[in-house]
């Protein structure tokens, strides 16, 4: 268990040892490693459970390496020594009960040596009692919803990477990918270090899986089930941790990352006290900056939330013109609808219906409002009533009825949405 507390040093040692045993291929990889990023092992663990898993992983790994080296030294010795070209005479022995018994019993003993620590770690992983905070995590196609059950704070977390960085079909319009490409979100989960956090995990449509590698946690988010996991991040390890959805959930499976900001207990309490309303996309203006200065950024986040909340109040009181609705609608459509229905509203025939010329978007206004607010069970069409505010829903419906060649001409106002809630 030399590597039970992995450090940068341990990783480097591992890298060089893997190179040694990986033979020609690993050697090739190593040769290229001079100017590229080749992470060979788990991400740096920041919880006790993740460290236990790391230790277990290395223990089994070295046992496997030992078995492998032992068995194949025998085989390769035999290949070099017992060959016809060296005139080795074949002996004709064909069985020995004694050795059969030996190589049944010894592996069994090795298995028990592995199973013992594995059982201990597993038992501690499954113990979700005595947690200090509970967060409910809900998987949606394709975003995460977070809810602080004791504090009435809830928000959605969607991919923040711009479409132009993802779509590289046309090099002319494609943008260069940023450092946290596909690992950045608009609103991230905030948790304190040094406290046991219990997460209740479920899903709203299909199965997803919530995974933060550095925490050593992965659990499926299953509709109709509430799964549990817990983690307790070490004090002093404040910062941003990133993970991804780990269960195939349809088209944008690769585009619903998980970002967790770990702050100190004190900062977290302040954040809870000043929170209450949902995050605004602008609240964490530049996540990369926040990344750079971890704990001080947390304080900035807390300060940024209050003005965002009061801005939302003002919005519902104003009168909206069609142009304003169309402008906001375009924005909402591109961020929330385009993943399935396409940036140009043509969808994917047979799976995701087109908006352009569709019976819904050119037909009865009330039924379109119902569809968008309450979704369509059994399909990927989610209920947006809780995901978007009145203005966003009104504007995106207005947009769909008057874009892509649809020309209904009517508008839907935020008040229409409010009336349906």
């Amino acid at each position: 268990m030399v590597f039970s507390r992995p450090t940068k040093l341990a990783k480097n040692q591992l890298a060089s040892k893997l190179t040694a045993i990986g033979g020609a291929i690993a050697a090739l990889v190593y040769a290229g490693a001079a100017n590229a990023e080749y992470q060979l092992n788990f991400q740096q663990p920041v919880t006790q459970v993740a460290r236990d898993i790391y230790g277990l992983h290395m223990l089994i790994f070295w046992i496997c390496v030992a078995i492998f080296v032992l068995v194949f030294s025998v085989m390769f010795y035999s290949i070099f020594a017992h060959r016809k070209s060296k005139n080795h005479e074949a002996s004709q022995f064909s069985h020995s009960t004694k050795v059969e018994v030996v190589w049944t019993i010894i592996p069994t003993i090795i298995l028990i040596i592995m199973a013992w620590p594995a059982t201990k770690v597993l038992i501690s992983m499954e113990d979700t009692t005595k947690s200090e905070h509970t967060v409910k995590i809900t998987g949606y196609q394709w975003k995460w919803g977070y809810e602080y059950l004791d504090n009435d704070i809830s928000f959605y977390s969607t991919l923040a990477t711009p479409r132009e960085q993802i779509d590289q079909f046309d090099k002319a319009t494609a943008e260069k990918q940023g450092e946290n490409y596909l690992l950045e979100v608009d609103n991230h989960l905030v948790v304190p270090s040094g406290r046991k956090i219990r997460a209740l995990i479920t899903a709203n449509d299909v199965i997803h899986a919530w995974w933060v590698p550095a925490f050593g946690t992965k659990k499926d988010a299953i509709p109709g089930y509430i799964n549990e996991l817990w983690f307790n991040v070490d004090e002093g390890k404040e910062g941003f941790y990133r993970g991804q959805c780990a269960e195939l959930c349809g088209k944008d499976h690769a585009f619903m990352p998980i970002v967790v900001q770990v702050v100190t207990g004190e900062q977290f309490d302040n954040w809870l006290a000043s929170g209450g309303e949902s995050f605004d996309a602008g609240a964490i203006a530049d996540q990369d900056e926040a990344d750079a200065a971890t704990s001080s950024a947390a304080a900035a986040v807390v300060e940024a939330i209050a003005p965002a909340a009061s801005a939302a109040e003002e919005a519902s009181a104003k009168t909206w013109t069609q142009d304003e609705l169309m402008a906001l609608g375009d924005e909402v459509y591109q961020s929330r609808c385009a993943a399935c229905h396409g940036a140009d509203g043509v969808g994917i025939p047979g799976v995701f219906p087109a908006i352009a010329g569709s019976a819904v978007a050119t037909g009865d206004r009330e039924s379109q409002i119902d569809l968008i607010m309450f979704g369509k069970p059994g399909t990927a069409m989610a209920a947006f009533a809780n995901q978007l505010n009145d203005e966003e829903i009104a504007s995106v419906i207005t947009y769909q009825r008057n874009a892509f060649g649809n020309n209904v001409g009517d508008v839907v106002l935020p008040a229409d949405i409010k009336a349906k809630r």
Binding site: Q39, S78, H88, P107, L182, V206, P223, Y225
Partner: protein, 529 residues
């Protein structure tokens, strides 16, 4: 009349009695050799179809960002690649080997149920036509992964229904093939060939056939429930109607885990034929090999939930499935040690089949050891659904099953065609395949450990370098297989005449009939002492 006299007399009067005309010869065939050939050609074709899909996947993953295909099509590629490789390439490939070799190995004139044999093959081209034309229906092919997990499949387009129909047809084909092998093996062995004298390949296939009959109906049940959920208002798996999505996974993997042994046990059988031949020594520990195979088959029924540790099972369930899964490494280890001991103090030569056998033993063991790591539940929480798993199952399924079939093909090709293949080209093919295989899949271990989830059309920047290694290797691996086709085709067309024994004093009845094996063999049963 002695045994040799019978064989001799047969030769002189042999007109082969092959049916005339292409349609009668191939489409109406009831001959185990012709049907075996059909299975093998079908399998090789599907290997290229599925391989082409793998190359689409690897091309898209060459760089971060979407360059060639959208994520929806990418998901169709991963799903169809797996379905075609599992049900189209690996399973029919082994049935082809069984058709050719089981009657020759047990001294039977043909399979016990020749007309059913014809039927079980000819279902397959139709099943795969249905599966593949699902690319052209609205919404494209199934995109929910080969496991077809509900509720994602409940959302899918009509291609899911087509896949369900195709799976039913493949299931019927597999079950009929399995029945045929069991009946042939149990009833048509030559006089004197007791069960414990059967070649290992026959033993592994007999056990595989029982696994097939046990689990294919389970899979059929699961997809039928999916079908009624989709169209007939049931809610087995749909939580909105009180159903249980995890139930699907339990049923699927109760089929799925024995299924992976269905794909590997016949490979073990082929390896167990090749290694003794080129070591010039009997297989070490024959009876323990038989019992180990049976033990693996039994254990395969009680480990299924290790594919789904993250669904939130009770602790007791997780512990049980962890211990049971770890236990599989004991009989698998016995097989490995027996193969190595068979080589020990032999007089080895390294023709292409032997190279493949050694390659399989070496690489399969790597896949087996990463499988042991995956069995450790707490660590599995980190490995699960990452590229570590992708690397693991390609080490056991490509380097295990597919490479064993390639070795088997080189081993028996002289018996099938009457010609020796080109040994130099065969060795080049082995080395190209092995090297590119490792370039493709070894880096995927690192990707998985570093946190890259599987079934991802696009990935964060830190995974770029290893993905490029993997994509580079995949194209090399794919192109190398064209050499395999060239070798096989040129061996069929001509080459040095193969002798009856082909290899140096090999053991088994298949080496007592002429090369190529005549259309009808063992009209008079041979006597085994």
């Amino acid at each position: 009349m002695s045994e040799t006299a019978v064989a001799h007399g047969h030769d002189h009067h042999d007109h082969d009695h092959k049916p005339s005309g292409f349609f009668r010869r191939w489409c109406m065939s009831t001959n185990h050799k012709d049907i075996g050939t059909l299975y093998l050609i079908f399998s090789l074709t599907m290997l290229f179809v599925g391989g082409a899909m793998a190359l689409v996947i690897r091309a898209e993953l060459w760089q971060p960002g979407l360059q060639f295909v959208d994520p929806h099509f990418f998901n169709q590629m991963t799903t169809m690649h797996a379905l075609i490789m599992v049900f189209g390439a690996v399973m029919p490939g082994f049935v082809g080997f069984a058709n050719w070799m089981v009657p020759l190995m047990v001294g039977a004139p043909d399979m016990a149920l020749p007309r059913m044999n014809n039927w079980s093959f000819w279902i397959l081209p139709f099943a795969f036509t249905i599966l593949i034309i699902s690319f052209f229906v609205p919404g494209g092919a199934p995109a929910a992964g080969w496991t077809l997990y509900a509720p994602l499949t409940i959302q899918g387009g009509m291609s899911v229904d087509m896949a369900i129909v195709a799976i039913h047809m493949m299931g019927i084909s597999s079950i009929m093939g399995a029945i045929n092998i069991i009946v042939t093996t149990l009833n048509m062995r030559a006089p004197g060939m007791t069960l414990m004298k059967m070649p290992m390949f026959v033993w592994t296939w007999l056990i595989t056939a029982f696994l097939l009959i046990a689990v294919m109906p389970v899979f059929a049940g699961a997809v039928t429930m999916l079908l009624t959920d989709r169209h007939f208002g049931t809610a087995f798996f749909n939580p909105a109607g009180g159903g249980d999505p995890v139930l699907y996974q339990h049923i699927f993997w109760f089929f799925g885990h024995p299924e992976v042994y269905i794909m590997i046990l016949p490979a073990f059988g082929i390896i167990s034929q090749i290694i003794p031949t080129f070591s010039r020594k009997p297989l070490f520990g024959y009876s323990s090999m038989v019992f180990a195979t049976a033990a693996i088959a039994f254990l395969s029924f009680i480990v299924w939930a290790h594919h789904m540790f993250t669904v939130g099972m009770p602790l007791q369930g997780e512990l049980f499935f962890m211990y049971a899964t770890m236990l599989i490494s004991v009989p698998t280890g016995v097989k490995l040690f027996n193969w190595v001991t068979t080589m020990w103090r032999g007089s080895m030569t390294f023709e292409t089949p032997m190279l493949y056998a050694i390659g399989v033993v070496f690489l399969f063991t790597m896949g087996g050891l990463s499988g042991l790591m995956l069995a450790i539940t707490p660590a599995d929480f980190q490995y699960h659904d990452t590229y570590f798993v992708v690397a693991h199952f390609h080490y056991v399924l490509f380097a295990g099953a597919v490479m064993a079939m390639m070795g088997g093909a080189f081993f028996w090709l002289p018996k099938w065609t009457g010609h020796m293949y080109n040994e130099t080209l065969g060795k080049i093919h082995f080395w190209l395949t092995t090297i590119f295989f490792n370039i493709t899949f070894f880096p995927q271990h690192f990707l998985g450990l570093a946190g890259m989830p599987r079934r991802y059309a696009d990935y964060p920047l830190q995974f770029t370098e290893f993905n490029q290694w993997s994509s580079f290797g995949a194209f090399g691996l794919g192109l190398s297989q064209l050499l395999f086709v060239y070798i096989v085709v040129s061996t069929v067309r001509g080459g040095k005449k193969a002798t009856t024994e082909v290899w140096d004093n090999p053991e088994g009845l298949e080496w007592t009939v002429p090369s190529p094996a005549p259309f009808h063999t063992f009209d008079q049963p041979p006597v085994v002492r």
